[in-house]
């Protein structure tokens, strides 16, 4: 039981847009520690919607969600923010970085927010991850002055800074060329194999999915295979 990182049971979501549009229908699954899971499915089948719910950012759904054994459903916003900060690393399709801060500071921010380690330690940690991802030479640069592939690696380093329970990604390679996509995939594989990092990645790319431990396939708001 303690092996379970994330547990979704009977999650459904309906958008009320003039007419009711059911997007997710009774989704239940569980992710265990160290798993590298990919979510596949046609465009519009509800992958992103599901991921936003699992990441606690979207709270408007039916069913229940447990992260690290703690029930997230109907928790106050402040606690959800804490959980996101401490336990979830998020990588977006578009590399969301704060242009006001240097690359290094961007990576450090969630660590400073968590405030468990000294600033010095957090900085060393950030530099370590930047080094692992091969972009330590960019640490002093502003994010708007580096390439898309580099930005995505900075975002991965930021997701890793608090040693999260799970990393979630919504098409993190969707906006990258072949070469950079492979690079990111390799990084995820390395994190999974060497650091036993749990990952949940939404992707369009079947090739990407074949390199993961486990594939969840969705269609029309339902899981059809896992």
């Amino acid at each position: 039981m303690s092996n379970s990182v994330l547990e979704a049971s009977h999650i459904s979501k309906t958008f009320h847009d003039h007419i009711d549009v059911p997007v997710l229908k009774d989704i239940s699954f569980q992710i265990n520690k160290g798993e590298f899971v990919s979510v596949m499915g046609k465009s519009g089948c509800g992958k992103s919607t599901l991921l936003y719910i699992l990441s606690t950012m979207d709270t408007d759904y039916e069913g229940s969600l447990l992260i690290d054994g703690e029930l997230m459903t109907r928790k106050p916003g402040i606690r959800l923010a804490e959980v996101r900060n401490e336990k979830i690393g998020f990588v977006f399709q578009f590399h969301y970085l704060l242009n006001e801060f240097s690359v290094l500071r961007n990576v450090m921010l969630p660590g400073l927010k968590l405030n468990r380690q000294s600033e010095k330690q957090i900085e060393q940690n950030a530099l370590k991850w930047l080094n692992v991802l091969g972009i330590d030479h960019l640490s002093a640069r502003k994010p708007n002055l580096i390439s898309g592939g580099e930005k995505q690696r900075v975002a991965i380093a930021r997701a890793l800074i608090n040693d999260p329970l799970i990393i979630m990604g919504d098409e993190p390679t969707g906006n990258l060329d072949k070469k950079n996509s492979w690079l990111v995939l390799d990084i995820f594989k390395e994190l999974s194999e060497q650091f036993q990092q749990t990952l949940l990645i939404v992707t369009h790319d079947p090739e990407f999915a074949t390199h993961t431990n486990r594939m969840i396939e969705m269609e029309d708001g339902r899981i059809i295979r896992q």
Binding site: Y52, L109, L112
Partner: protein, 419 residues
């Protein structure tokens, strides 16, 4: 709560848009500068104008009024009780202007703890002689030093020394226009005719200029002893007792008390000068209204820049929220930005306001009524600086509150989806 981190983020957002934030801050600076300078100048002027009256007016003036007895003999006759009577040409009962038992009254008032000081006076009409022409005027016998302590007498002496009045016997100080009219200079003899017809030579030792020309044209000051001598009265003869209190506000009540206690006429300053306070308070009110209006305008400036910043920084807010900053953190960050603008703009405003006050204070200003004044009056009351600070903080807080609340409610999912 990690305030240091929130401050760092607020600071970075501020600096990233430093030109716009500077403009917003300049709005605050401008309004606080104007607020400080305007209030300082206005209240400086108020003080000057009030001082014109307040400095020289007794809080309570005690004197004996020549009046008819309210109970005439006819009203004591019981058979005319139900009748109404008219009496013409009633003789006044107290034919003397002097205050009876003056020494005892002065002693009693001096012992009163509410009283700051008193200055008794001998007032007499007199004629000033210039050749064949006699100019009607008044002479006040005063204790120059007491008069100065209570009514800043020396401030209005434009030539000679007020102290000499007490040391040089048979000396007189004349209003400057009166001295000019009499063609006398300091050191010359002035011939005074008393109401009883005697002529006294007095030595002119100084000029007096109150700022009210009509008053200066008839006014002369001597020592109490000299005044008693020229009127031919004994040393306990006084016509007025001027009282200054510790608290001006108590004047009406104490005046009433003295009136019944000593059986004298007692006029308090509020009754004597009822209009001057209204003028002051209206000028002060206008200054506050102008200052606050400017601040509200500055507040809208801050509101605008924050709203703009929030639209620009939607993505950043979404990232902060996705990486674990709560709505409350975001709200605090934007409030800090607003307060940062307010504190910076406000501090600059206080500084510039002070400098502008110094500048106004240095502008030459000659006021014929007040020879001691050479530049515009400015009031450096620290209270205005405190009020200015409070106002700038409150307006920036209010201006920041709504945008900050809006920023805290931004749904990261909508932003991230929108890309």
């Amino acid at each position: 709560m990690n305030y240091k981190l929130n401050i760092e983020i607020a600071g970075s957002l501020l600096l990233a848009r430093w030109k716009q934030t500077l403009v917003a801050a300049i709005g605050v600076t401008f309004s606080i500068t104007m607020f400080i300078a305007l209030l300082g100048f206005m209240t400086g002027l108020n003080k000057l104008l009030d001082g014109l009256i307040l400095n020289r007016t007794a809080h309570i003036r005690l004197y004996n009024e020549i009046e008819k007895n309210p109970r005439q003999p006819v009203s004591r006759v019981s058979m005319y009780k139900d009748f109404y009577n008219f009496i013409s040409s009633v003789e006044a009962v107290n034919s003397r202007e002097e205050i009876y038992n003056s020494e005892a009254i002065i002693g009693a008032i001096r012992a009163d703890k509410r009283v700051r000081g008193i200055s008794p006076k001998v007032h007499t009409p007199a004629f000033f002689n210039e050749g064949n022409i006699r100019i009607a005027g008044v002479i006040d016998g005063i204790n120059a030093r007491e008069e100065n302590e209570l009514f800043h007498f020396y401030d209005y002496i434009t030539g000679g020394s007020g102290d000499d009045l007490m040391t040089i016997p048979n000396s007189i100080i004349l209003g400057k226009p009166l001295a000019d009219q009499l063609l006398v200079n300091i050191g010359d003899q002035v011939y005074v005719t008393t109401p009883s017809g005697d002529i006294f030579p007095l030595k002119l030792i100084g000029y007096y200029q109150s700022g009210i020309r009509d008053l200066d044209k008839i006014q002369g000051y001597t020592s109490i002893v000299t005044a008693q001598k020229i009127t031919g009265k004994p040393p306990d003869y006084y016509t007025d007792i001027q009282v200054k209190l510790n608290d001006l506000g108590e004047a009406p009540a104490i005046a009433k008390e003295y009136k019944s206690l000593f059986g004298l006429q007692a006029v308090d300053i509020q009754t004597a000068n009822s209009e001057f306070e209204t003028g002051s308070s209206i000028r002060t009110l206008i200054s506050y209204v102008v200052g606050i209006t400017l601040l509200i305008v500055a507040g809208f400036g801050i509101y605008n820049i924050l709203n703009m910043m929030i639209y620009e920084k939607m993505d950043s807010i979404a990232i902060l929220k996705a990486t674990g900053f709560s709505g409350r953190d975001v709200k605090i960050i934007f409030l800090m930005i607003a307060l940062g603008i307010g504190i910076f703009g406000g501090t600059m405003g206080l500084l510039l306001g002070y400098l502008l006050s110094l500048l106004i204070d240095a502008i030459p200003f000659h006021f014929s009524s007040l020879p001691t004044i050479t530049t515009y009056p400015v009031n450096y009351n620290p209270a205005y600086y405190v009020i200015g600070t409070l106002f700038s903080l409150i307006t920036t807080y209010l201006a920041g509150m709504f945008p900050a609340a809006k920023a805290s409610k931004i749904d990261p999912v909508i932003i991230i989806r929108g890309k």
